[in-house]
Each structure stands twice: as C-alpha cells, then as structure tokens.
C-alpha cells in the first residue's frame, strides 16, 4: 500500500469529509427545490444557525461521551433544570450573573457526574441510568418551577456575549458553538485526555491494561456533558428571555442525532467534533428546508430517523471499503 493512497484514504476516512459533502449536497437540493430560494433568506439561515448551536453545544459533549462508549439521554432534562436554575438564581435571588452562571455550570457538571458515578460504579449501562435521570431531572424541574416559567422581562445578564448578532447577522450562540467546536476538536486529537477518551472507548480492556484509568476518563466525559448542557441552557434562556420547563424538550434526540450524523460511532473510539458540528447544521437545514417547502413538521422526524440509519450504513460501508 503506497503512502499517497494511504493519505487519500485517511482523508476519506476522516469522517467530516463525508458529512461536509452531504451538507453541500443538501444546500444544492434546497437551492433548487425551495420556492423563490427562500431557504437562503437571511432569517432562515439565522434560524438554522441559532437552533443548531443550541443543541449542537450539547452534542459536543455527547461526542466525547459516545467516543468513550457511553451515552447520556438525560441532557434535555438537565437543560430544562439548568435554565430554570439560572433564572431563579439571577432573577429571584438577585445573584451576580457571573456567580449564578458558575453555580449553574457546577450543578450541570454534578448532574452529569452523577450519571457517570451510578453507571460506572454499579456497572449499569449508561443509557439505562440516564433514562432514569431523564425523568428525575424533568420531574424535579416541574416540581421546583411548579410548571411556571421565569421571565427575564428585558433583563440581559450578559449583554452581547450571548444574545448579540455579529455583523447584525451571526448569532453569538453560533459563535460560541464554533469556538467550542474548535477547542474540543483540538483536545480530542492533540491532547492526552482526548487520546485516552478514544482509547477508553475504542478498547476499554486494552486501555485499562495499559494503565489508563478508564472510569475516571469516562466520568470526566459525563461531567463535561453536564457542563456543556448547562452552558447551552443559559445561552438559550437568556436569548429567548425565559427559564422554562418547555425548554430542552427533545434535545437528547437532536444532540444524539447530530453526533451520529456527524460520524461518531455508537460502538466507541471513533468520531470528530467537527463532524458533529456539521451534523447539527445538517439537521437544522433539513428542518428549515422542509418548513420553507411547506412540508408538515411531522415529516422532520421521519426524515431524521431515515438519515441516521442511512448515514450509519454508509459509514460502515466506507470503513469496510477502506480496510480492503
């Protein structure tokens, strides 16, 4: 096998390449099929970027977790609880916004860590643990908030940092999404922690035999998910002006879908944050494209489910071809 062939295969195998091709393909499709090119209306594009960033930031954490061969489906409920918590601390108790932010991030990380501790210490599959905590945290949010939202009523605790639009167009939430994507992609591929995440998920037994504390590595990934969920919840709740029990519903589904579409393997060891970034944008492109075409929103779930299966099959197909 000559080296140039190896390099080309490495590029193709770099999963984000395939995902980027899908994104470009979708752009072309929507360019031709949407009436009056409404898909490319600045408001439609901004909606895509805003929505993609809201669960995309969560999906960054899910990417690390899935690469380590774990899962967290409680993220939507954690999102809800954290949005209410921050609003409560800042608006009802009058805390300094920075302090309220740090406290909310800490609580989010703790909730993620709890998922990890229960799963790893007791050997319970994380999908089952987080199925339980999904209901636990959402129930807690409803009990604590009594089903009522907390409105910001014009208060903007962080000013432009979370709610502004760069150049009058680019939502700051999306800027944060880009920054976090770049940061965590570098960590995943060039930092010792990222290396150990991949080893822990790629072959947990081998990683342990080589002296890697896989439980600690996975626990950090669980905590990271909680932290990013809390951060995303603060961005969204300050943007829309409420902390509410209706926020975050279904975000576990979208975050996981973005991660899978982005090429992260459910079997561990393989994935990129850039792929997840593109996966989140693709999801929102489809949702917005369907809406602009006048297709019922219910078809969105049908499309997403189909795409997840097709993407996973394609990934397996490509990997098998490369290995021949």
């Amino acid at each position: 096998m000559n080296l140039s062939c190896l390099r080309l295969r490495k590029v193709i195998r770099y999963r984000a390449f395939g995902i980027f091709a899908v994104l470009v393909g979708l752009l072309l499709v929507f360019y031709f099929v949407t009436p009056e090119k409404r898909f490319f209306d600045p408001r439609a594009i901004r909606t895509i970027l805003t929505r993609a960033s809201e669960y995309g930031i969560i999906a960054i954490g899910i990417t690390f977790l899935m690469i380590s061969r774990e899962l967290d489906i409680s993220v939507g409920s954690v999102f809800t609880l954290c949005s209410l918590l921050f609003a409560f601390l800042y608006l009802k108790l009058g805390w300094d916004p920075i302090f309220a932010l740090l406290c909310t991030l800490a609580v989010g990380a703790m909730m993620g860590s709890l998922n990890g501790l229960v799963s790893l210490k007791f050997g319970i599959p994380s999908i089952i643990t987080t199925l339980g905590t999904m209901y636990l945290w959402r129930g807690a949010a409803l009990v604590a908030g009594r089903g009522q939202p907390i409105y910001y009523r014009g208060a903007n605790p962080f000013g432009f940092i979370f709610t502004a639009r760069l150049g009058g167009f680019l939502p700051m939430g999306f800027v944060w999404f880009i920054v976090l994507t770049i940061f965590f992609e570098i960590i995943l591929h060039y930092h010792r922690f990222g290396n150990r995440v991949r080893a822990s998920g790629g072959n947990t037994k081998a990683a342990r035999e080589m002296g890697i504390n896989t439980d600690r590595t996975k626990l950090i990934c669980f905590a990271l998910v909680g932290l990013l969920v809390a951060f995303a919840s603060i961005i969204e709740s300050t943007r829309i002006g409420e902390g509410s029990g209706r926020l975050g519903i279904g975000y576990e589904f979208y975050a996981i879908a973005a991660t899978v579409i982005g090429g992260t393997s459910l079997f561990g060891g393989i994935g990129t944050v850039i792929g997840t970034f593109l996966g989140a944008i693709i999801l929102e492109m489809i949702r917005t494209g369907l809406a602009v075409m006048g297709v019922s929103g219910w078809w969105f779930n049908v499309f997403i489910g189909t795409i997840i299966i097709v993407v996973m099959v394609l990934n397996v197909f490509i990997m098998k071809r490369v290995r021949r």
């Binding site: 060039y190 010792r192 290396n195 790629g202 072959n203 002296g211 060891g269």
Partner: protein, 246 residues
C-alpha cells in the same frame, strides 16, 4: 541492574489467588533468571493467565510474595507494574484498532508537552525507529492498527514493551490465531529479547511454539506447579506426556 544469568530476577513465592470458591492459583512458586525464557505451560484452567494478570497488576494475589531483582514488591496496578519494568503482552495484544500505530505504542504513557498536549511528532518518530529496529516494515505509523496483520499487531505490542525498557516481559498466548509466518516472527522476537537480557515468561498451551525458544518449562495444572524442567532435560514428546499425565 546487573544481568547475571544465574541469579533469579523474578521470584514468586507461595502465590494464592481465588475467585470466590474457585481456586485459580494454589501456592505457586516460580523463579526466572535474568535473560531467561520460561515457558509457562499447561492446559486450559491451569492458572497461567491468572499468574500473568497478577504480575501485570490487573489482579492482586490473595497471599504470597513477589521479588524483582531481590527486592520485595507489591504490584498495585498496571501502571505500577510498568513502572517496575514489567511489560505484558496480552492475548488480544491490548491494542486499540481505531487508533494509529504511534498512539498505540505510547498508549497510557504518551509523551506530553505544555498543558499535556501530545508530542505527536516525537511519538511518530520514535515508533518508526523502534519498529524498524525490529525489522517490522509497516509502511506508516499513521496507519490504524486494525489494518495490520496478526503478526504485525504482535510486533507493535512487542515494540511497545521494548521501547519502555522492560526488564520482564510476560506474554500471554502470544501466538494464538497467528499464521505460520506470524508465529515464526514472534519466536524471533523472543530470541531477540533474550539476547538483550530481558527475562521472558511465555505462557501458552501450544508446545510447538514455545519449545524452540524456551530455556526451561514450568508445568501448571489446576492452579499448581506440577513440574519444573530444563529444556536440555526433556524432548517435545516427553513434555507433552508430562502435561497430560500431570
């Protein structure tokens, strides 16, 4: 550390290990001298792999003592075993298929710089050097380990042990599922290790693979050592009879 072939480098004294009611290792004594290749043989369930896991720090003995170069040690973890100079070649080679050769060679012991960022260039260069010194031509250390043949994977695993300057290498069924060429390559590696003065414990139930290279054989059955015999005192057929008869 002196490399006197006559002196024992490894001594395991009265090692006991049970898993619930199952006695896996029952009062085992083993010695291995510097630069000696010990064939640890026996049928399935003899306790060989458990002994290796105790040396690797994956399991802890219930009772007994371990000495390395005359010094008593307690092996707490795989990382501790590595720090003591014990490297283990596991049955599945302990490699991560979706990671490249360089990352696998340094798994768990990655060289890092500022803020623990990986020194990737150093990892790749050193991996390439060590593989070349072993006569392994893989093509590129950027290649995922999952794309390598069985013998090449074993070569990477041995390269890892060599790089970290093991004093003792334990190999748990290193030839299992290998082709004829792969087995020959492993045997050559072991001879090279002996030439470097490294003590090797070669665990297998395949006598044909270990006989050409071992200096002595320790036969285990149902958790106990039933016989220890030097290679010059036994033939391959006699060895097989000893295992069967116990």
């Amino acid at each position: 550390m002196s490399r006197d072939g006559a002196k024992p480098f490894l001594e395991m004294k009265n090692i006991h290990k049970s898993f619930g009611k199952i006695v896996a290792v029952d009062g085992v004594n083993i010695t291995a001298c510097y630069g000696e290749v010990v064939g640890l043989i026996g049928d399935n369930g003899a306790g060989k792999s458990t002994l290796i896991k105790i040396l690797a720090g994956i399991e802890k003995a219930d009772k007994g003592e371990i000495y390395l170069a005359g010094k008593k040690v307690k092996i707490h973890s795989p990382r501790h075993a590595q720090m003591l100079g014990i490297e283990t070649l596991f049955q599945d080679q302990a490699l991560v298929n979706c990671m490249d050769v360089a990352r696998n060679v340094f798994m768990g012991r990655e060289p890092t710089g500022l803020l623990r960022f990986l020194k990737l260039k150093e990892m790749k260069e050193e991996s390439a050097v060590i593989l070349k010194s072993m006569g392994l031509s893989i093509g590129s250390v950027d290649m995922d380990v999952g794309l390598l043949s069985g013998g090449e994977r074993q070569g990477v695993a041995i390269a890892r042990a060599l790089h970290f300057q093991a004093s003792l290498l334990t190999m748990d069924e290193p030839t299992i599922a290998l082709s004829v060429a792969g087995v020959q390559r492993v045997v050559e590696y072991v001879k090279e290790l002996r030439g470097r003065g490294i003590t090797v414990i070669f665990v297998t139930h395949n006598l044909y693979h270990v006989f050409p290279v071992a200096d002595k054989f320790i036969i285990m059955k149902r958790g106990r050592v039933v016989r220890e015999i030097k290679k010059e005192d036994v033939s391959l057929d006699q060895l097989a009879d000893l295992i069967v008869s116990g």
